[in-house]
């Protein structure tokens, strides 16, 4: 009962936060509301007994990625409240049609779709049992390091490659100039 209520509250909070975030003109306020959305989604994960995902969601998205966003916004001082991203009738048309299509999909899910609650509850109870046995971190860690080891390693290599690529791109071009001189 109280769990249902909390879930609804978090769900409503995340939708509300997302709407406010999209409609803000000031990018810094948009970032702050997005952080609020992450917190609300973490709350939803908690209500679904996915404690680890909830924590990681806050640590990575709320605490690291959004701080970087905020950092860049503050550094570049992008707080111009009078700019509009979608300009003119063409932009409006594109944006409007995408939203209407998305709304249609959502309505169809809500009206014609099957009730997802039994599935969620089944997954939740299975998760609770596994968590009681292995701890909430073990539930995620065990499959990750047994069944999906290859996938995990490949993802790690992919991240490493992208990191090296970023450093290469961001590097000062001192070496190039020196070669030209000699």
């Amino acid at each position: 009962m109280i769990q249902d209520f909390l879930f609804q509250a978090f769900a409503a909070g995340s939708i509300l936060g997302a709407v406010i975030m999209v409609t803000r003109r000031n990018p810094v306020s948009a970032v702050i509301f997005l952080v609020g959305v992450f917190f609300a989604t973490s709350g939803m994960f908690l209500m679904l007994d996915a404690h680890y995902i909830a924590a990681i969601n806050v640590i990575l998205y709320g605490g690291a990625i959004m701080v970087l966003f905020l950092f860049v916004l503050m550094l570049l001082n992008l707080g111009h409240a009078d700019w509009r991203d979608l300009r003119g009738p063409v932009g409006g048309l594109i944006g409007g049609s995408i939203s209407i299509a998305f709304l249609g999909v959502l309505t169809r899910l809500f009206v014609g779709g099957t009730d997802a609650r039994p599935v969620v509850e089944l997954a939740g109870s299975a998760l609770r049992e596994a968590a009681a046995e292995q701890g909430v971190v073990g539930v995620v860690a065990r499959p990750l390091f047994t069944e999906y080891t290859i996938v995990l390693e490949v993802t790690g290599v992919l991240l490493l490659v992208s990191m090296v690529g970023t450093i290469l791109l961001a590097r000062r071009e001192r070496g190039v100039g020196e070669r030209e001189r000699t």
Binding site: I32, V58, A64, L68, L70, F71, V136
Partner: protein
């Protein structure tokens, strides 16, 4: 006796929140006067000594002053965020305290009350999650003030806190490797009874994870923006950084947040590495509540008080170390600070995790059961690593003596950037 359930549990939780929040605020008050007194002692002067006996009522005078002072609002400030920032500065530091176990469980007539506000299953991941939110107060305070000094302080602060969060999180990985659990009460209980059989001595993780403690403490210093990591404030360069434009109670909230953060980090070090509320050389306090409600050991109210005292003593000593460091070490240069974070701490912690993982693998392969020898082998490995770490950080300054250092002042400056 079973743990409390139902309405009694809810009431107990509300009570604990109120009591511990009050205790934390009281501790913050004492910490401010403590810091000024220790500072006075270290600089060979009296420190505050006018208000009350030994100047102890100075905190109350300061609090009153902050309440009565004028609240200023800079013309360039972004009003909602300017007001929100002090709240975001104080909130994470205080709610972090929810997952710290303070004392052994307290028996009441309604059942056993565990002395932790919220024993969340994610344990110290909660600490990392909420700790990572602390940066918003600094960043937003700096940006919303509409002042260049504040903005610089906020930018420095957010970059620094994000950088050291990585090392902070990684320095706790060896703890997971050793305990296999993330919940703070479990970690305390494991330090009390780190043996296969009945415990005859406590094994505080400061011994098997000495270097882990060092890295956690250093990153904790950086996270709390204390000297030598107080780049966001750096009063010689930035006036006072992100809270330059704040006055009266809003400034006070930033300060309360900072001191609460210091106390929280000290409490976390206590819980993770110094046995939490464990009283050394006494096995009567090995009380543990299992997840199915069974209680091991005999909880009594005086044990709760004693263990609370032990926890308080350990935490206060660590706060003393914080203050001591503040008045001993000079501030880093900003590039040195970033280099230390990204080019030294991160690599060193990663190597440490690898070493500990392999040593634990080796110990388990040899077949040493959890207990004294297990911890002793890890302690020896840590001592060896501590020696290596000392040589690496020393960079030939102290050990090889002055001759080299005097000869090449310029060379040292270049070396300094290697960090």
């Amino acid at each position: 006796m079973n743990p409390v359930t139902g309405a009694a549990f809810a009431l107990a939780t509300v009570g604990k929140v109120m009591v511990f929040f009050t205790l934390l605020m009281l501790a913050v008050m004492l910490a401010t006067i403590f810091e000024r007194k220790v500072c006075g002692f270290m600089q060979d002067r009296s420190g505050p000594n006018r208000v009350g006996p030994w100047g102890l009522l100075q905190v109350i005078a300061d609090g009153l002053k902050n309440l009565l002072k004028e609240e200023t609002m800079p013309a360039q400030a972004v009003r909602p965020f300017f007001l929100l920032a002090p709240v975001l500065g104080i909130l994470p530091a205080t709610i972090l305290f929810a997952v710290i176990p303070f004392a052994s469980p307290l028996p009441t007539q309604w059942g056993l009350v565990e002395m932790i506000v919220a024993d969340v299953p994610i344990g110290f991941l909660y600490v990392l999650a909420i700790g990572s939110i602390g940066v918003y107060g600094v960043a937003m305070g700096g940006w919303a003030s509409g002042s260049k000094y504040s903005l610089l302080g906020g930018l420095r602060g957010s970059a620094q806190m994000v950088s050291y969060e990585v090392a902070l999180a990684l320095s706790l990985v060896p703890l997971i490797l050793l305990t296999g659990d993330v919940r703070a009460p479990e970690i305390v209980s494991m330090q009390q009874t780190f043996t296969a059989g009945p415990a005859t001595y406590a094994t505080w993780f400061v011994f098997p994870l000495l270097i882990g403690l060092f890295f956690f403490f250093v990153s904790g210093l950086a996270e709390t923006n204390r000297l030598p990591f107080d780049m966001p404030e750096a009063e010689a360069e930035l006036i006072t950084g992100y809270h330059t434009e704040y006055s009266a109670m809003k400034f006070s909230m930033f300060m309360i947040g900072e001191f609460a953060h210091v106390i929280t980090v000290a409490a976390l070090v206590t819980v993770f590495f110094l046995g939490g509320w464990d009283i050394p050389f006494w096995q009567g306090d090995n009380i543990r509540v299992l997840s199915d409600g069974t209680v091991i050991g005999e909880p009594t109210w005086w044990k709760t008080l004693l263990t609370l005292g032990a926890f308080g003593v350990k935490t206060s000593l660590l706060v003393l170390v914080f203050v001591w460091i503040r008045w001993t070490l000079p501030r880093f240069r900003y590039d040195q600070l970033m280099d230390l974070g990204w080019k030294f701490m991160l690599e060193a912690v990663t190597v440490y995790i690898l070493v500990i993982a392999f040593v634990i693998l080796g110990i388990e392969a040899v077949g040493i059961p959890a207990g004294g020898w297990y911890a002793f082998v890890l302690f020896l490995v840590n001592l060896a690593l501590a020696g290596a770490l000392f040589f690496a950080m020393d960079r030939g300054k102290l050990i090889r003596g002055g001759a080299k250092g005097v000869k090449s002042a310029g060379g040292d400056a270049a070396e300094g950037r290697e960090g």
